[in-house]
Symmetry: C2
Subunit: 308 residues, 2 copies
């Protein structure tokens, strides 16, 4: 079991989907990553910032889920980061309605002293300089650094992003973003270009089409579980990343073979995340349900061909 | 080993991709299906029609590949069906430049007498009435009927399509088409609706995202092999269908478990088809290459998780 540092937003989300809408509810990449990783009972610390308006109940909720909250700074006279979005009917695209950075605008992550020796670091989607500042605070080079990012940083902080991903072992990125970052349409060629930028492992998230893991000439393709209905996709990518990293932190085995399993765990947890609004499903998820769904993943993908 | 009847076009194609363009070359759904099925050395008959302009060399080529050509009618004073298309840069969409039905306009399929007892029938993409007329000629109800279709017939012959698919065991269809046919966005719900229309098995082709097999509450998801480059997608769907059906005809095992293997074989053969123009790669494919790629498919998809 490895210690895990997670940097990412802890936020309010307001979400509208064809199935309904919410008021301000608990959200943020750090929250979703932490919740997913908590399934593996790893010793984790979320590094983040919230305002004085952030309910103590939410912090207790995270703490009760075994997520370390000592790295969450509370700016008493500030307001918590707020995002609001509305999904289109196909659930594959959304409009951002509101982005209020608030306390996130001046966020300087502070890794708690007793987590500066963590073996695994998960850099949730944030400005690449913020991600880098977390790495700089670690006492030793972590055994595994996973980074999530998005097109926004490619548009407005590309050089910083390039500098940060040099120090990263695994990047998780969606198919459109990897095409933007590399200028290559073929995901095989794109992954090879990312290898040259630093990350030895590339995880390409394709939403309902699953996820690909690349390492040198090795490829693994985990399909997504076909779902009758996607209720709310918010946080699915972060939940995937949290499941992936949490499983690796728990097993402390960072081989390609074990990363296959990590991808399956990430996909499994993401398949729960989308069943309800925001964090609701992840807050109410037990190990039996996870195991049952893993079994479904096996049935979904495993076959027995005798070569002729 | 079951006898296999294939109905489908035998045609001239002229193809333009970002990588180059061809003159009129051998094409047609029946050709691609037959070539894929021939990998399994099944006793097959292609039922089709060509004009007097169709080279004897092409018929010899098919015959040498062990594809039965006795059901291919030659209309000496007619011209062979001709299709021409141009692919866009992403290879996922194309424009049809020319469609000359020619002898296909009056095509009345005639199943050779010694194939009217075939156990397996593959109905390639044609007017649903033409597909039905093949079924009507069979002496007994075949053990397995597979049907491929496309949006064109949903637009202009929907009632006939509904009547024909009532008699079908397996439908192969792409994701856009299954959404059009059922009016459902969720593929899980769409597959259930197709079950109600007749086919107990539904194969949804998703191109670079792989293929799904549905049967009641069972789902199997075969990803597509991530390719460095797709040279020419023409015939990939037919090759998939031919590989799927050919494998089932060879094994005469029509269970869901064995259909999983059939989907993997279909995907494997389709991954070769797109490597060169038209039928070129399929005409020059040996069993060692197929086995090697099946091994790649195993590495791509198989994992070993111990449930916790």
């Amino acid at each position: 079991m490895s210690k895990l540092v997670i940097v990412g937003t802890v936020a309010f989300d307001a979400i509208e989907t064809p199935f309904g809408k919410t008021d301000k509810i608990l959200g943020g990449a750090g929250t979703f990553i932490g919740l997913a990783a908590s399934q593996f009972k790893v010793d984790s610390a979320v590094v983040s910032v919230v305002g004085g308006d952030f309910p103590k109940d939410y912090l207790d909720l995270m703490s009760n889920k075994n997520i370390g909250i000592s790295g969450i700074e509370i700016v008493e006279d500030g307001k918590t980061f707020f995002w609001s979005g509305k999904y289109h009917n196909d659930m594959n695209s959304r409009d951002t309605l509101v982005t209020e950075l608030n306390v996130l605008a001046d966020f300087e992550p502070k890794v708690p002293e007793n987590y500066k020796d963590a073996e695994v670091v998960m850099l949730g989607n944030l400005h690449p300089l913020t991600q880098m500042s977390v790495l700089n605070q670690m006492h030793n080079k972590p055994k595994l650094v996973v980074l999530d990012t998005m097109n926004f940083w490619m548009d407005c902080a590309l050089d910083d992003l390039h500098n940060t991903i040099k120090h990263v072992d695994v990047i998780t990125i969606n198919d459109e973003e990897v095409r933007q970052l590399t200028g290559e349409y073929s995901l095989v060629v794109a992954a090879r270009k990312i290898h040259e930028m630093g990350p030895k492992y590339v995880v390409i998230k394709k939403g309902e089409h699953g996820a690909l893991l690349f390492h040198d000439d090795n490829v693994f393709y985990a399909p997504a579980l076909p779902l009758e209905e996607v209720f709310d996709p918010t946080g699915a990518g972060d939940t995937f990343a949290g499941g992936f990293t949490g499983y690796l932190a728990k097993t402390s085995d960072f081989s390609f073979e074990n990363m296959k399993n990590a991808v399956i765990y990430g996909s499994t947890l993401a398949s729960f995340c989308v069943e309800k609004f925001g964090t609701e499903r992840m807050l109410d998820l037990n190990a039996d349900e996870v195991n049952k769904r893993l079994q479904q993943f096996k049935q979904l993908t495993q076959f027995e061909i005798e070569l002729t």
